[in-house]
Symmetry: C2
Amino acid sequence: MIKIFMSKLFLIFFSATISMMKKYNITCPSGFPEFSPAEERVRQNWLAVIRGVFEKNGFLPVETPLVEREENLLAKGGNPKEMYVLKRVQDDDDTSHSGNALRFDHTVPLALYVARHLNELAFPFRRYSIGPVLRGERAQKGRFRQFDQCDIDMIGSGELSLLNDALVAVVIVQLFEQLNIGEFFVRINNRKILTGFFENLNIKSKDISAVMMIVDDLEKIGATKVLENLVKLGVKKDLAQEILNFTEISGTNEEIFKRLEQIKGGELFTEGVQDLKEVFSALSAMNVPENRVKLDLSIARGLDYYTGTVYETILTGYEGLGSICSGGRYDDLAEVFTGKKLPGVGISIGLTRLLSQLFDAKIIEPERSSPTEVLIITTSPDFMSNALEIGAKIRGMGFCTENYVEDKKLGKQFDYANKLGIPVCVVMGESEVEKGTVQIKNMTSGEQTEVTLEQLEKGLKNILK
Amino acid sequence: MIKIFMSKLFLIFFSATISMMKKYNITCPSGFPEFSPAEERVRQNWLAVIRGVFEKNGFLPVETPLVEREENLLAKGGNPKEMYVLKRVQDDDDTSHSGNALRFDHTVPLALYVARHLNELAFPFRRYSIGPVLRGERAQKGRFRQFDQCDIDMIGSGELSLLNDALVAVVIVQLFEQLNIGEFFVRINNRKILTGFFENLNIKSKDISAVMMIVDDLEKIGATKVLENLVKLGVKKDLAQEILNFTEISGTNEEIFKRLEQIKGGELFTEGVQDLKEVFSALSAMNVPENRVKLDLSIARGLDYYTGTVYETILTGYEGLGSICSGGRYDDLAEVFTGKKLPGVGISIGLTRLLSQLFDAKIIEPERSSPTEVLIITTSPDFMSNALEIGAKIRGMGFCTENYVEDKKLGKQFDYANKLGIPVCVVMGESEVEKGTVQIKNMTSGEQTEVTLEQLEKGLKNILK
């Protein structure tokens, strides 16, 4: 009764406050979402795995600023329509802020990094970068304006061995084996094969990238539509069919290589086949299972700057997600900044997008939101000092440990543990403190056992390990 | 000779290219520096330790967007002169980009986060946030426009037990014990004590924060200057001396508490002393050594929003660095957004600034830039396939492993290892491949031993573990 009265009083007070308050739109700005703590815990685990695999393979950590000169970003293909330029509210006095913009990927910052440190770097330069990039795209489901990218690249000075292309594929395989989200495979192709094949069919040079883009959509739009689009582009119907047949060649890697040998292509075509053979033979030297790396003549990667090997990664059974990790070989990282030929090969994972897809598809189901394994609660604040001491001890045993220190009823304290998904409560009351014991409550089973302080560590391990 | 000729040719070509090239200013924009890979490795280790300690103490990970609504940032004390507002180059068509700005700390985003999720959160809500914030300050040595902050906060709904203030101090102690950069201690005070003492001296309310700011500078500017500044503010000379004497009270925590008992203060003063006693008695219940947590009446933390406990952390012998981790208790996190009382207590580490100070002062000396522990090199590309196989094996043993796959002389390959500080090279030549052995070269001692593949793991462990 008193409670109801109080809460009514509170409501009146609250409404009065509300009406005096300026209204703020407290939602996240469009395109800038946030993960829940439970999802964020998954993200942190992923970041640790990804970073670990990159380091296991000898990539150096490079963290470039979020902000670069606008002019430099535009020099390497930045889309001015999507780039966020920085302004200060009052920017009359200090010109050192002007002309800066937020990075939209890790590749342009890498080009600038290499240009800045050209003479100090050991080549081939292998680096990884993990962090947010920002694009002012139209916000829509699954498309964010801020998202994490996890990139590795190997950069050669003047030249770069093709074996690096195999090493990159190995990193993808290690990554998704460790991330452990199910069966997957890496599709590998070489754009020289496609370009060479198209050239040999007398497709005009200016149309080759358009043809590449159309072919790249095969899985998404289907064979009929690919044919249609090719014809629309001006490719003769029989040639279009030949292109389609070519990209649809299937079989084991060995079978596809055999088919490729029978096809008469030009010099570039032959070079591409040779390159791809070298990559696959390196993969087999490293004992990468054939079901993890598949030659696939239909992948092209729409982006223009790839010139050799291209990669896509497919989660078996979830082909609809598209490629979950992609990349390729390029000839020119930073000529515009350095005047030097710096070929490279690299891959990128769009972490934010991928995780949000995996959460949506329930391929990953985040568990509890708190890292706490053990919550210490007391029946009365009188035992708080004992509880704090025990809490420090349990933390010392290596468990993530939290003391509940507010003066609330036991039920409220258990509610707190349940809301956060904390698996174990250690309960201390008068009788326990007198006897030098504690109650261990398994929050999943509901089971409760009284143990001495000597038995405590073992008791916790029984539940938590 | 040919080499010289070639390099001249190259120079001519290079100059020609240069002269045709547009010149780009490729330096980092002012205030947006980057760490070297060796420094970045230190930073990554620190981040892992910091995150680990936060989770060990049951803080939930919360990662808010880099971007918030400008209006919301300004509502909680954002300095409009330093805030970076986002614009797109062409921003006529899509208004959803306007009115957004980059976060300048983690506190306002926390306030917004709590406001957004008020009804889902379990209170007290403990969260950590680690990541970059951006401020358009004047760039100067040690002041950056983008820097990482690592924050924890505990937020109560309506009220929050004082014991949380002790738990926060424990986190600071754990943090710097694990970061292991030398002796340190946490200075603790309570602003109620200072405010109460000043009120009792009849300092006008409007002057109290100014007095607080002056006293806070004691260590930086010295006693004489503090007296001068107090008198300048209008405080009578004898009162100024009394204030100075008060803040200079020293001794063990127990001695200082005894002195405080002898001082006649007002109600607020007594409350502050009581609060601080409760915090220190909780610290001793948790067995925090007295040399780690020191009552210090001179610290106030300039910022106005602290209302109770305040913390600073001092690295012994490097007092000149100032506080390396600070924070305090505040009454109001998000009333402007929620209409509710949400008191909190928290701390923040300015990671970028701190690390850059520690590097400059050589308190931390970054070691090698590459994570690679073992580099596999060959005397000829003929043995590459064997080398790749061995590389995959060594990586499987758990070592960070890299194959050098470029076709370069042995000397160049060793240069590469030395430049990156890689500690071990595994060398494979004709005789090794024939015999099924490899050479292990300890790059530090120069020692080289031939081992069979069976002895390889042990041989590597001998050097690396």
